[in-house]
């Protein structure tokens, strides 16, 4: 077991035993489910919308080279500087370079999981810049020096009371349990940060090839301020964010909001196509788009799991995942939590180090059912398991399954084993739940079924010989 796997198990045990935490997350996500279903109901046909979304993304990803080239040409034509970063380090270096060249000291950032992925804040802070998060949830986890808990709801694990105490300790505000007041406290701090910032950094939800624009979805208006007030705007965009046409957003913008947050549409949806143009009175003087690969092209080269690049990071798969709902977002130890994280992290950060996330699933398929772009998530977990075992099988499992195969291919041995089970079962009582119990992983929390005295095949044999005897006697 790798250190990452051990840590995951430790965290999972900790969070699953925290009933308060589990209750909090389950309740929050139940509320989301109700809303999501309400707005899904407004679609004439949700499953057709999903099908269409998946086809558009298929087109985008399977012709990524063409769409990217078009996107770059179009957006550069309006004076945007585009940098294509092969790795996270290249992207960090470029952004730090721009900051240094322009003597940037203070940076305001809107929410970006891609920035989390490459550890951008740390790199900028290391270079002497101060980075302020402007998304309320991100602002809160930044104050707590924590990683985002959920890719869409970074601070969903905190109660109002905890946030009030945090603000009191960190910002010196009076305790309050009014959400409006808490927001106003954060807002006062943020307004100052916006005005002082020399640079704004954002992610992007979509990159439209046809028009050379990025699209950002948000509820707080913070991304609009972060990207328009400072004189430099840098957008960090994963190459998979491409959609071919502007009209595709008519499908994706509401879908992202409904699937991910249970909203009909988010409050603000903005398109950015370049820096301030001649004759315009506002907007940044410089606009940089950093297109990030960071092993996405390796995933692109895998025909089986290429569709994982269709992901629009809506978070729906996390919201419905019973694993996520019980262990929470911090147990994963990854940038991307939940099912999509378990699928792609092994590709982005190494299969052997992160295969335990693919193993840690009951393969229930709730994620696949929820995913608006139809990614075959739970089957990809199975494929990751297969790839991991093929590449580096575990000795104990090899031995275990060799025995298993031998017995299961020989019905006589199999029958013998079913006869032995009732004999060994009473002996098991002696060690049940103790350190010597081979079935301890089960018996610590659950009772075992009692092996039947007569197995089904024994019953059937009896039944058949009785039937024969009767017919013979007639």
């Amino acid at each position: 077991m790798t250190a990452y796997a051990r840590e995951f198990k430790r965290m999972a045990a900790r969070y699953t035993s925290d009933l308060r935490h589990r209750g909090l997350i389950q309740r929050a996500l139940k509320g989301y489910e109700t809303k999501r279903d309400e707005y899904k109901g407004r679609y004439q046909n949700w499953s057709e919308a999903r099908q269409a979304a998946s086809e558009i993304k298929w087109e985008a990803i399977n012709h990524l080279d063409r769409h990217l080239a078009e996107f770059i040409t179009k957006i550069e034509a309006r004076g945007t500087r585009v940098f294509v970063a092969g790795t996270g380090a290249q992207a960090r270096d470029y952004i730090v370079g721009v900051a240094k060249q322009n003597r940037v000291r203070s940076i305001i950032k809107s929410k970006s999981m891609t920035a989390e992925e490459i550890g951008l804040n740390e790199a900028l802070e290391h270079a002497g810049c101060t980075v302020f998060e402007s998304d309320l949830g991100e602002f809160i986890v930044q104050l707590r020096r924590e990683k985002p808990y959920h890719l869409v709801f970074p601070a969903m694990h905190l109660t109002r009371d905890e946030i009030s105490r945090l603000f009191h300790d960190e910002l010196g505000s009076e305790p309050t349990d009014s959400p409006e007041e808490l927001t106003m406290i954060a807002r006062r701090v943020m307004r100052k940060n916006y005005c002082a910032a020399d640079m704004g950094i954002s992610g992007a939800n979509f990159a439209v090839a046809e028009t050379g624009m990025i699209s950002i979805t948000e509820n707080e208006g913070n991304a609009r301020l972060s990207t328009s007030l400072p004189k430099i705007h840098i957008a960090l965009v994963g190459i998979e964010k491409i959609v071919p046409r502007l009209e595709d957003l008519a499908l994706f913008l509401p879908m992202l909001a409904t699937a991910g947050a249970g909203q009909p549409l988010t409050c603000y949806n903005t398109l950015y196509g370049g820096p301030r143009q001649p004759g315009e009175c506002d907007g940044p003087e410089q606009f940089h788009v950093v297109l990030l690969d960071n092993r996405r092209t390796e995933l692109l080269a895998d025909p089986e799991q290429r569709d994982a690049l269709h992901c629009i990071r809506c978070g729906a798969c996390l919201n419905v995942c019973p694993i996520f709902r019980n262990v929470g977002g911090h147990a994963y130890g990854t940038t991307y939590q939940g099912p999509i994280g378990s699928v792609i992290t092994p590709h982005l950060r190494g299969l052997q180090d992160w295969k335990h996330l693919s193993a840690s699933s009951s393969l229930c398929g709730a994620c696949t059912e929820a995913c608006p772009v139809g990614i075959d998530l739970h089957h990809h977990l199975l494929q990751n398991r297969r790839n991991a075992a093929r590449e580096r099988p575990s000795l104990s499992e090899k031995i275990l399954y060799a025995g298993f195969v031998f017995i299961m291919r020989h019905p006589v041995l199999y029958r013998l084993s079913t006869r032995l089970a009732p004999v060994f079962f009473p002996l098991h009582r002696l060690v049940k739940g103790t350190f010597f119990d081979p079935l301890r992983a089960w018996t610590q929390t659950r009772d075992l079924p009692v092996p039947a005295r007569q197995s089904f095949h024994a019953y059937w044999n009896d039944k058949m010989s009785n039937r024969k005897a009767r017919h013979g006697g007639n």
Partner: protein
């Protein structure tokens, strides 16, 4: 109609009454039931753990065992899914791909077979009590079975069906997952058991014995009174 029973290994060992009940119901409905004697396991444990060579070795044995069957009815939605959905995938580009593809459409889960193939809804069963139904994930999401077991239960005289809020939520079993990550598996099961408790049902019914093993194991440990029964056990009561 000639029907072969597929009684997965753990049902054979722990829940033979499920197989007995299935045979009774099917025979009552006029099927000619047989039980291919060499059957053991569908190969799901090594398959789900990623050991596909080993899974093929076990699954290959199943392919041979059921080669002559015309219709295969499974006592477990999960093991049925293994044969129906995953065998073609498992044997892709191997010599046995043809057999795997041939067997897949012949495999049916019990309730789906009764409702969609035999076209029965009322099997003439009587059972008194209140029950809630748990949808096994494989049956629900891989095979699309949701309506069928409920149709059958609706027609059982004396039975009151109360839906639980978390009917479609995974029970946390997941095969080897349950022992590889026991704390998560147990937490998931607890959510299920809480939802069962809310309904105050006396019985938990499912078309998958593997889920019921997890649920009953937890109910017992938590001192909850509800009893788990396979759908076939209810339908066999007259």
């Amino acid at each position: 109609m000639k029907v072969s029973l597929f009684i997965p290994c753990f049902v054979d060992q722990f829940y033979p009454q499920v197989g007995v009940s299935m045979a009774q119901v099917l025979e009552r409905l006029g099927c000619e039931v047989d039980y291919p004697p060499g059957q053991t396991c569908c190969g799901q444990p090594p398959f789900n753990s990623g050991y596909w060579n080993e899974a093929r070795a076990v699954a290959g044995h199943s392919l041979k065992t059921f080669a002559k069957s015309e219709i295969i009815v499974s006592a477990s939605g999960s093991c049925g899914t293994m044969m129906k959905v995953f065998y073609p995938e498992l044997f892709k580009d191997t010599e046995q791909e043809f057999e795997a593809r041939k067997i897949a459409p012949k495999v049916h889960e019990f309730s789906e077979f009764l409702v969609n193939i035999l076209g029965v809804r009322d099997v003439g069963a009587k059972f008194s009590g209140t029950a809630t139904f748990h949808d096994g994930c494989h049956g629900l999401r891989e095979l699309g079975i949701k309506r069928e077991p409920r149709e059958l239960l609706k027609h059982v005289r004396g039975l009151e069906l109360v839906e639980m809020a978390e009917a479609e939520t995974c029970c946390g079993f997941g095969g080897t997952f349950s022992v590889k990550f026991p704390s998560i598996s147990t937490a998931m099961g607890e959510v299920k058991c809480d939802s069962i408790a809310e309904t105050r049902a006396e019985y938990v019914i499912s078309n998958d014995s593997s889920c019921l093993m997890q649920i009953q194991g937890l109910l017992d440990r938590r001192g909850q009174k509800a009893r788990c029964l396979h759908l076939a056990e209810i339908l066999a009561q007259t």
